[in-house]
Symmetry: none
Subunit: 400 residues, 2 copies
């Protein structure tokens, strides 16, 4: 099944925003075993949107459109689908009422154009949007399903997973189940992980892919089979082999994020975790506290401006941060992240960050070298601090 993806938005053509939506759609389609031959980006222009959609219907088996279903005058995806499908516009009165209610409650009144988000071409299915008010659309034309999703990434991704992909699978008529498992690793770079798993990479089913996210490398194992049980058995075999080769570098599976694992250990001991952060500006605390499982184990955070962390010895600095945290927060476990100091000679993109963890039993500090610009260094430092916290609360310590 070949799926064409059309992104709509003049701001994409003008390069004002990078088109991350098509990458998300492309990755999810590839995960599910669908092929994609073309991604097309078109501006907020009715005629060209119609032309692009018609061409996609001609050369693909299904079409996914993102964008152009908001409330403003330049949102014309609904109109384009009416022309392509030779249909009239209908309003979903129940949804219009819901929009009127929600917006009125929030803003006091509603402008008429907002209700356009309840419109859809006649005889098409509407797709519920859990994270926004614009309805998605599922239209079948000449036997080709066309799905219109919002351009807002968070709304688009959920609707893709929950509403479009199941419909696509049904349309494809293939009974094959696809199952995936994520092995989460920390401690080795992508190349080293890839090298260690080189031969496993050659097989098509199960297939292996690597995803780098901050300081973690995630190994995704995907298998297709007639039923879930067989797919899981195929995955089990490869997952065991990966674990045997990577050892404790594999720290979690699927939803076992580093935050969830830290929270689990804290829970077992009745501890709460707080942070004192310079380079990461509160990102360690925020990562931890915004996961539902960890929120109840969060003791608060202190963000310290870089100009207050002035000791020449970064290890002493982190010690002082841990002491400040102990005074300010009711925390059993404290994580401290010091300043990002330029390191490694003339290279502005090498930073040394010292961080430390203290539990009721012990404390330890570690200095890490991180590569990248300021935003990347913050992401890497946040991830490293969370992993050091994970090791410490699970009783695995390191030498200062």
């Amino acid at each position: 099944v070949i799926v064409e993806v059309i992104a709509i938005g003049t701001e994409l053509l003008l390069g004002e925003i990078v088109n991350s939506n098509v990458a998300v759609v492309g990755r999810r389609l590839a995960d599910e075993g669908f092929d994609t031959h073309f991604h097309v980006t078109v501006g907020d222009n009715l005629e060209r949107m119609v032309a692009a959609t018609r061409q996609a219907i001609d050369r693909a088996d299904a079409v996914i459109l993102t964008g152009g279903i908001g409330p403003t005058q330049d949102d014309v995806t609904r109109e384009a689908l009416c022309i392509v499908g030779d249909r009239t516009m209908e309003r979903d009165e129940a949804h219009a009422e819901l929009i009127r209610d929600r917006i009125t409650r929030a803003l006091g009144s509603v402008v008429p154009s907002t209700l356009r988000m309840a419109d859809h071409p006649s005889g098409t299915e509407t797709l519920r949007n859990r994270n926004g008010v614009a309805l998605g659309i599922a239209m079948v034309h000449d036997g080709v399903p066309v799905y219109a999703l919002p351009g807002v990434p968070s709304e688009m991704a959920v609707m893709l997973d929950e509403q479009v992909l199941p419909r696509l699978r049904a349309h494809a008529g293939e009974p094959a189940v696809l199952r995936s498992r994520l092995l989460r690793t920390w401690g080795w770079g992508e190349s080293r992980v890839a090298d260690a798993l080189d031969d496993l990479f050659a097989t098509a089913n199960p297939s292996i892919a690597f995803l780098v996210d901050g300081v973690e490398v995630r190994v995704r194992i995907s298998a297709k089979a007639a039923d879930a049980e067989r797919a899981e058995a195929l995955i089990d075999r490869v997952a065991d082999e990966v674990r045997a080769r990577l050892g404790p570098v594999v720290f979690g599976t699927d939803h076992e994020t580093v935050e969830a694992l830290v929270a689990r250990h804290l829970d077992g001991r009745g501890w709460r975790l707080g942070t004192v952060e310079v380079a990461t500006l509160g990102a360690v605390a925020s990562s931890f506290a915004r996961t539902a499982v960890a929120a109840g184990r969060f003791a608060g955070a202190l963000v310290v401006p870089a100009d207050e962390a002035t000791a020449t010895d970064p290890v002493a600095d982190v010690g002082a941060l841990l002491d400040r945290g102990a005074d300010a927060l009711e925390a059993d476990v404290l994580v401290a992240v010091g300043r990002a100091d330029v390191g490694g000679g003339a290279d502005q993109d090498v930073r040394r960050v010292t961080m430390g963890v203290r539990t009721p039993h012990r404390r330890a500090v570690r200095t890490v070298t991180l590569l990248g610009d300021a935003p990347r260094v913050r992401i890497y430092a946040r991830g490293t601090a969370l992993h050091l916290a994970r090791l410490a609360v699970s009783g695995v310590w390191w030498d200062d």
Copy 2:
């Protein structure tokens, strides 16, 4: 002059990398006043690359291709151009010698396929690549110039600026420039802004577009003219009209972000800003402190766990947060964000957040109603808190 952009690479279709190249090309073309109707992404497939290039030549005045000119077997842009242009492949022997020299010096030997980077269709111009070894190609077919550039972003961007855009300007024979201005607004929803500017939206030059980012709506005004001065004059007229209609809802222009404006006001008074945050988990502090202009005005932050903000009266709660901030931080201005409480009856997605600002002169609190899931509410609350801080430090207060 309409320019079509074709990005080549199966990894783009699979979403393994986000297509930042087309955004760069799109932005540069818009800056120069060229129009773009379509961006097309196609995999490393000869037949589909030929089809996409032929279609682009048919419907555009010039074509820019990125990717597919490296040394490996899946790099087939050169072959596609030979087919499209009905030409044979030629080797630039001088460049082949240069590649042989450089690679041999770096790696000790050179594999024959590497020399393909010196190939180009007969009768086409080669484009020098200062940051790499693959030659770019400039081919004219049916009067339409087609430029092939590398997919490596750093190589592509330099060759675009130094070699493609000057050729495009010469080809267009027009001195037209395009200028854009961003008016940043806060306080009205997208629909209300759009309604207020409805008639301005109808004109093509200057053109108006809306971009929503969190709680802000940005109005972009773009104008084309023979020279920059005339373009700016066209923009001025529309910008004045927009300001007249939206009033103080317009808070900044172009790079005047809310953080930059808060920092400017703080700077004028020698003040530093700290935050005490519950619902936003430190995001207000982090947004502020990570902008270079504001970092020196940052006094630190306290993130308070939601279970510690337990007063039944959210206004009292925010008062208590402001007091805690005064104790813990050396801040002249404090911003406090309380809990996100479920509000508006059964709707889980309506949250009420109370926030407050305190300067050496005055303090005020405001409760806002925000719509969305937890991550969106955090983004909206962060933006609202920054804007309340902006009002307060510029001496504009509101009633509690």
